[in-house]
């Protein structure tokens, strides 16, 4: 048993931290979010040059061959720096789906361009009615000649506003909620019949609602086996959920550190407010909340590393715990920063909003608790 990181993992951690310090400070981040695209091409090029975009991909696909621990390290740093660039939607979701389900042709076309940063990807899965149930899918692809015709609408597509390629979850058979009959298609963002409505979320990320109006796709657009998408989707979302929880842990740790620092310097009644016992005890509570979330993340990562199929109940548990502990941490951070805590100028509220988005992504605590109970207590 060990909870150590390899030398390479330490180096990646340090280099992302240095990048945030030198090139992605709070003012820079604010300017990026306020820009037209809401992301930074310069930053993404740095990601590519420093190899961060290659880490999760297999060596035979031109990647670094990293594992879940490497992904955790990257995402934790992304969380600390509140980096808004689309690592999760482009590299982990789009890239993950292509890497897992793609044939050699698809992988060799798409993965190298993801790694060099020229392809920006997204995964269009959510629909207006589907809430957290991915199989609730009305978007359909009908076989036509050698290829397919895709029709329907996806909403809140992460990186949907900026991607040039996407993977779309669509029904090729079966009824609305059926697990069988779902398929994945690679669709170019500028294909005819694809229309996007872009908008920003509260955490700064740019998403899109995307309609597909009889979009003609070639046979090569199908990713993996027709009708059997969910096994791939589950595997990719499972890994992306762990990654997202690592980002949350990064956000939580930074919020605690910033709040602690603030209470040591902010004076009221002639003393630092951190000298008040009522605040001290609450900061111990938030520290414990952070450590507990980190511990459960480590458990999940270790279990997943041993056997990805064995970690599902623990992932549900982690989602529940991070939801609860993040709420405590950003609530206390906001409160202890006083009036400044509720301004747009200070970063505290932006960490809070990111954590709120993380908590609802891939299912909220209620959803995951129900899943956990089903797995653990069903008669």
């Amino acid at each position: 048993m060990n909870f150590d990181f390899s030398e390479e993992q330490q180096m990646v951690r340090d280099s992302i931290a240095r990048f945030v310090q030198d090139d992605y400070d709070w003012d820079t981040r604010r300017a990026i979010v306020a820009s037209d695209t809401g992301i930074s091409d310069t930053a993404w090029q740095t990601f590519a040059e420093l190899g961060w975009l290659s880490i999760p991909f297999a060596e035979e696909d031109g990647g670094f061959g990293g594992n879940i621990v490497d992904t955790m390290v990257i995402m934790e740093e992304i969380g600390k720096g509140l980096i808004v660039e689309p690592y999760l939607p482009s590299v982990l979701l789009f890239g993950g789906l292509v890497a897992r389900a793609g044939n050699e042709g698809q992988r060799s076309t798409l993965i190298p361009s993801l790694i060099d940063g020229s392809t920006s990807g997204a995964f269009a899965y959510l629909e207006r009615q589907s809430r957290f149930e991915m199989t609730d899918c009305l978007t359909r692809a009908e076989a036509s000649g050698d290829g397919w015709v895709l029709s329907g609408e996806k909403v809140v597509v992460f990186n949907g506003a900026n991607c040039n390629q996407m993977v779309v979850l669509a029904r090729t058979a079966g009824d609305q909620w059926e697990r069988d009959g779902l398929s994945l298609f690679v669709v170019a963002a500028d294909a005819e019949g694809v229309n996007r409505v872009d908008y920003a979320m509260m955490d700064g990320q740019r998403v899109a609602n995307i309609t597909f109006d009889n979009v003609s796709l070639g046979a090569e657009a199908l990713l993996g086996e027709a009708g059997a998408a969910m096994a791939t989707v589950d595997a990719v979302v499972r890994e992306a959920t762990i990654a997202l929880m690592a980002e949350a842990v990064g956000c939580m740790g930074t919020l605690n550190a910033k709040t602690l620092e603030y209470t040591k310097t902010r004076e009221q009644f002639g003393v630092a407010i951190g000298s008040f016992q009522s605040l001290q005890h609450r900061m111990v509570d938030t520290m414990m909340a952070y450590e507990q979330a980190k511990s459960l993340l480590y458990k999940v990562v270790c279990e997943y590393k041993q056997d990805p199929d064995s970690a599902d109940a623990s992932i549900n548990a982690l989602k529940v715990l991070v939801d609860r502990n993040a709420k405590l941490i950003y609530g206390e951070a906001t409160q202890m920063h006083g009036g400044m805590g509720i301004t747009d100028e200070l970063d505290i509220g932006h960490y809070a909003k990111r954590l709120m988005m993380i908590n609802t992504t891939f299912g909220d605590a209620r959803f995951h608790r129900a899943q956990y109970m089903e797995k653990s207590y069903a008669a």
Binding site: M1, H281, S295, Y298, K299, V301, C302, A317, M373, A379
Partner: protein, 392 residues
């Protein structure tokens, strides 16, 4: 980052299981529940000692196991799964490490064998009627008279003083300087003249706690551990040790397992309690917090094996561990419904038809002490705020 058991560790687990299956026999279980608790638990500890497993946390040179964190985890998990009691902490867990860390060669030779062999029963003289969480305010005083200290005062909440052969005591040897200075850690023979043990019946209707009075008790100066007036250093080291085991994740895990078992049998209006969504949600929240705490404990163990002694972060384990113990005990009492109120000594559990509710009652009631002893949880928060967060 890896928790996979190696072949050696899997073999160790088999060895632990085989040992428990063979040595923790039904006859011993019966005796542990009888009036001969002391004799039975000492015999069990002697079986552990014979196997070389009595002192999991001691260095090998003093008779410890030399186990890795993983081995300790495996051992504790297997032990707790079977409901096997832990080693009584006062000798092995508390005074022993202080003696090998701070004591003289003579003290090591004299006391460590009796601790390892469970032939000497130790108790802890820390709290006083006037000094609870503010331990350093203690007033029991020891005055030098030739080559003896003469001790006067009283200690309280002393677990199992009625069984004890020796007591380790914090006494005041000086009133100069800060209150933490002037405290000395000293070992006292319970057979000494002038010691009186007064029983305290606790909220679970049992007798494990006592008040220990000292009236002109004469103790040789060579029984001081560490330096005179520097006992606070020893006291703090001991509390850090005490706090690491105090989370007792394994016990809470066992309790949750027993709750689930009971909830499958309890029926309300024809519906199993286990199928009640509200009950399930509470169970889930407890299990989830405990899963996390188990890894917090493992992280601490791993850090300790790298750095030696536990630091102030062990306070976190104490706070979270005892909170979860109590929440689990509470849920178990609720699961017992009316039977939670049946007094163990007034009703045979077999006649009652709910054999587990007596244990639920005792655990819940005595469990209220957990957030108070070993430094109350509020004091633990002060410690973390000061030493970990750097807040003054």
């Amino acid at each position: 980052m890896d928790i996979a058991f190696s072949p050696d560790e899997l073999a160790f687990r088999e060895e632990v299981r085989a040992f428990f299956d063979e040595q923790f026999d039904d006859e011993l279980v019966a005796r542990l529940r009888s009036d001969n608790f002391k004799e039975a638990i000492c015999e069990w500890q002697q079986r552990l000692h014979k196997k070389g497993w009595i002192a999991a946390n001691w260095p090998v040179e003093y008779g410890g196991t030399g186990w890795s964190p993983t081995q300790k985890y495996i051992y504790e998990t297997e032990r707790s799964e079977r409901g096997i009691p832990g080693v009584i902490p006062f000798g092995i867990g508390m005074v022993g490490p202080m003696i090998y860390q701070f004591g003289t060669q003579e003290q090591k030779d004299k006391f460590l064998p009796g601790i390892l062999e469970s032939t000497t029963w130790w108790c802890q003289g820390y709290s006083e009627p006037g000094s609870g969480s503010d331990l350093a305010s203690l007033k029991t005083k020891a005055e030098l008279d030739g080559d003896h200290y003469v001790i006067n005062g009283a200690k309280i909440w002393t677990s199992y003083a009625q069984y004890a052969d020796w007591i380790f005591v914090l006494v005041r040897t000086s009133n100069e300087g800060k209150k933490q200075e002037g405290i000395t850690f000293i070992l006292v023979d319970m057979k000494s003249e002038g010691i009186k043990v007064n029983p305290i019946i606790s909220i679970d209707n049992e007798h494990s706690l006592n008040e220990v009075e000292f009236s002109d008790v004469r103790v040789p100066v060579e029984n001081v551990v560490g330096e005179v007036n520097k006992g606070w250093t020893v006291a703090k080291a001991l509390l850090a040790h005490e706090r690491t085991g105090i989370a007792d994740v394994a016990q809470s895990k066992r309790n949750l397992r027993l709750i689930k078992q009971a909830a499958e049998e309890e029926v309300n209006g024809g519906k199993r309690l286990m199928d009640d969504p509200g009950f399930q949600a509470r169970l889930a929240d407890l299990e989830i917090e405990l899963m996390a705490l188990e890894f917090t404990e493992l992280r601490t163990l791993a850090a300790m094996s790298a750095g030696g002694f536990p630091g102030p972060e062990s306070s976190l384990l104490k706070i979270k561990g005892t909170e979860l113990q109590q929440a689990t005990q509470e849920l178990r009492m609720e699961t017992a419904a009316y039977y939670q109120g049946v007094l163990p000594n007034d009703m045979d559990p077999e006649v009652l038809g709910h054999s587990w509710t007596h244990e639920a009652f005792r655990n819940y009631m005595y469990g209220r002490a957990a957030t108070i002893y070993g430094g109350s949880n509020e004091v633990q928060k002060n410690i973390i705020a000061k030493y970990v967060l750097g807040l003054e």
